[in-house]
Symmetry: C2
Subunit: 454 residues, 2 copies
């Protein structure tokens, strides 16, 4: 290990190599529960592409595993240390290199925080849509690693839609440029999108060319209360079947609503079984909100409240954003991320409620309802081994239910450590074999984030 | 060969195997110029997934190359026969299996014609945006193979944005399902998008899950005449920098305008050096058209004509759609497909004009200007060997210019046979090596569309 640290230090700047066990332990895991983390040998903080190449060349020479990390806000253990690894923190490569309004692109280093890019783009009348809950702290590199989504996706899609080109360092230190700066391009296989969502198992992103969009007007939000999740989900399907394109369509169940009220005294309606938030950001937003309000009414909503203005809209969005922190006050939480076809959303919600009852647990539900992407939040007492086992069991049952309904075990959080076995079930043997062979093409020694995803 | 045909016939239906040399020769090439085609052994027309698997198992057993084909409207020789190959025509697998308005997806077989899917989607108030010029005859399988674009891309993106999941048959006959039916999903590497644009070199698509969108209102089109391509391109940049999102932004040069007038007596302004068409399809289209008209005026347009109504808009769109057939009347045509950052579009157009002058050729120019995707059309006398050589030379110079301006050698037509050498230049040695290794993962015997792309 002395040799490893010495070799790393030779090519890195002052203060870029940390071996103090307190420091390395602090970097050993992301925000996922139920995931082991190993003991890292060292944490490095490169500031240039050449330094990243040095780290990977060293790792290849010495056959040491490398775990790339952004802000470690991930929820699947993808950034967790493995024993003896180099933790490769990309947080100091955090420059926005270019914002180009004519070509509507940004060129950034991977350590740029999502919200910083959004603010910089806003300065040019532009937006970078992907907005995961952690957007104030997560990095673009991490977003690319997981293929991150957020609240915007029902209208604007996920990270994959916004990555045009990448510079990545391969496991052996070679530099690869993929993709383009142009709006279109089909030259060769789409390695860019192969890399998006690959969770640091194929290469290390050191630069990204991202598409930007014109900044939309502020959203106008409608809140609709329903007496059952079935009715709420039927309204979601109806909105989509009628051809509306909301900029956001979120669902919070009664557990979530109560938790938010408790935390922030928002005065949300606690008797509701499902609170649906629907927003529009186009020039016709008032008409659209009014029409969807009528539609929710007809679908049996017990109350429909269109926001009068931006302040009211922001308050409703804030309630949604507080859902997870609010539930974290109720116990240890374990957030899942199962997406189903939106036509199956009602069955998914009913099924999760049945799992909660069977396992005698509280499972709060927030969902990007427009995308059919549910985030069941299992709440339990981590000090109680038996309850923890039931929590873990319910987590697995939720994934099984998602697959049964034609869905996927991860809509936007990634596989990491948490869902490896489930990925294998979802892919099947042929898909799994091909994915493993592709991994071997990029990383023949298996040093890049080993044990994750596949 | 007797053995091959016999084995193929055993698993295929009546009339699904053609060996008549006149028939096989008729299927031997797509619509690309400058591309050799080999002599196929046989053309097969499977109608089921099992039949496709049978064809590929047979090909693997006998080590016979397979060239998958759609409607053979491609422009890069990607569907051209190689000597002794099986031409695998997917045109009889042409069923639309499902259109699902709630989940906004279509499930189709690969031989479905693009326009047929569009019409079927329209029956549900939905649209399948990708609209290549050949949309009335090209197939979805071919569109997936090339990653096809069209006029819609400036607002709606290309085929890659609309493919959610695929069933493909691998070279050895195994069936692989990739992707999902859900709006979001990040489970494993994105093999779906790796397959889009892979030009039949990795696998054979037998089923696709496609995303649909609500059908937009008809477009309102503005035509603006400019005295120079520089001014027209500056207007394009200004429209985009000001945050507009046109549903179409096309440029036709004077050669194109004159050819269209000659063919269809459209009465387009022949004195113009660049005719720009800009369309909007949102609820604010009248305001947007008026504002962009004023913007073009300020950018020096010599004439600005906003369409009064849908009929006028359709006429302008028809003029654009006639550009290629109109130029085909002037001689043998060779259409290129180079995309540059839109900020470099003016340089690209000036550079192509200089190439035309130096090579003493007419090169008409149509461009998806909003995307920076140019289609220089080299017009020459194919009976004149010396002129043909100059045409070929100009084609290469155009690609070199595109790369020099930070662009790509193919925006939407694909690499095929035509641009293999240029792909290698664009990718560089590291990218090329990885792409070859990925090809080997999917097709270790190299029987799938050999000699294409890589």
């Amino acid at each position: 290990m002395g040799d490893l640290v010495e070799r790393l230090a030779q090519g890195l700047g002052e203060g870029a190599v940390a071996v103090d066990p307190d420091v390395t332990a602090a970097y050993a895991h992301d925000m996922a529960g139920f995931c082991e983390a190993g003991r890292p040998a060292v944490v490095v903080f490169p500031e240039t592409v050449e330094q990243v190449r040095h780290v990977l060349r060293t790792a290849t020479d010495l056959r040491v595993p490398v775990v790339p990390q952004g802000a470690r806000t991930g929820l699947s253990g993808g950034a967790n240390a493995v024993d003896g690894c180099i933790l490769l923190s990309m947080t100091r490569m955090n420059r926005i290199l270019e914002i180009d309004p004519v070509n509507r692109i940004a060129v950034v280093e991977p350590g740029v925080v999502n919200a910083e890019l959004s603010r910089a783009a806003a300065g040019h009348g532009l937006a970078y849509p992907p907005d995961p809950s952690s957007w104030e702290s997560c990095t673009i590199g991490g977003n690319i690693g997981t293929g991150a989504g957020g609240l915007c996706c029902v209208k604007y899609g996920t990270t994959s839609e916004y990555v045009l080109g990448l510079d990545v360092v391969l496991a052996d230190g070679r530099l690869l440029t993929t993709g383009r700066r142009t709006a279109k391009g089909v030259a060769g296989y789409d390695l860019t999108r192969l890399l998006v969502g690959s969770e640091g198992t194929l290469a290390v992103v050191v630069r990204a060319v991202l598409a930007l969009r014109p900044a939309p007007p502020p959203q106008l939000v409608l809140a609709a209360e329903f007496r059952s999740t079935d009715e709420a989900c039927a309204a979601v399907c109806e909105v989509m079947a009628k051809g509306y394109t909301p900029s956001l369509m979120e669902l919070m169940d009664s557990t979530t609503v109560r938790a938010v009220n408790e935390m922030a005294r928002m005065g949300l309606p606690e008797s509701t079984r499902a609170l649906l938030l629907v927003a529009f950001d186009g020039p016709d937003q008032r008409r659209e909100v009014a029409e969807v309000a009528a539609l929710c009414d007809a679908a049996g909503a017990s109350g429909v409240v269109p926001a009068e203005d931006r302040a009211e809209s922001d308050l409703l969005l804030q309630a949604r954003r507080l859902s997870l922190p609010a539930m974290e006050r109720l116990g240890t939480t374990m957030i899942d991320d199962v997406a189903v076809p939106r036509s199956r959303l009602a069955e998914m919600l009913t099924g999760v409620a049945a799992i909660a009852e069977r396992q005698r647990l509280t499972i709060g539900m927030v969902a990007h309802a427009g995308d059919g992407n549910t985030h069941p939040v299992v709440i339990f007492d981590a000090g109680d081994a038996e309850e923890t086992a039931r929590a873990r069991g319910s987590f697995d049952e939720i994934m099984a239910l998602g697959l049964e309904l034609g869905g996927t075990v991860t809509g936007e959080h990634g596989v990491g450590l948490l869902k490896r076995e489930w990925l294998a079930r979802e892919l099947g043997p042929v898909g799994l074999e091909l994915q493993r062979q592709i991994k071997a093409v990029f990383d023949p020694l298996g040093i890049l984030n080993p044990g994750k995803t596949l």
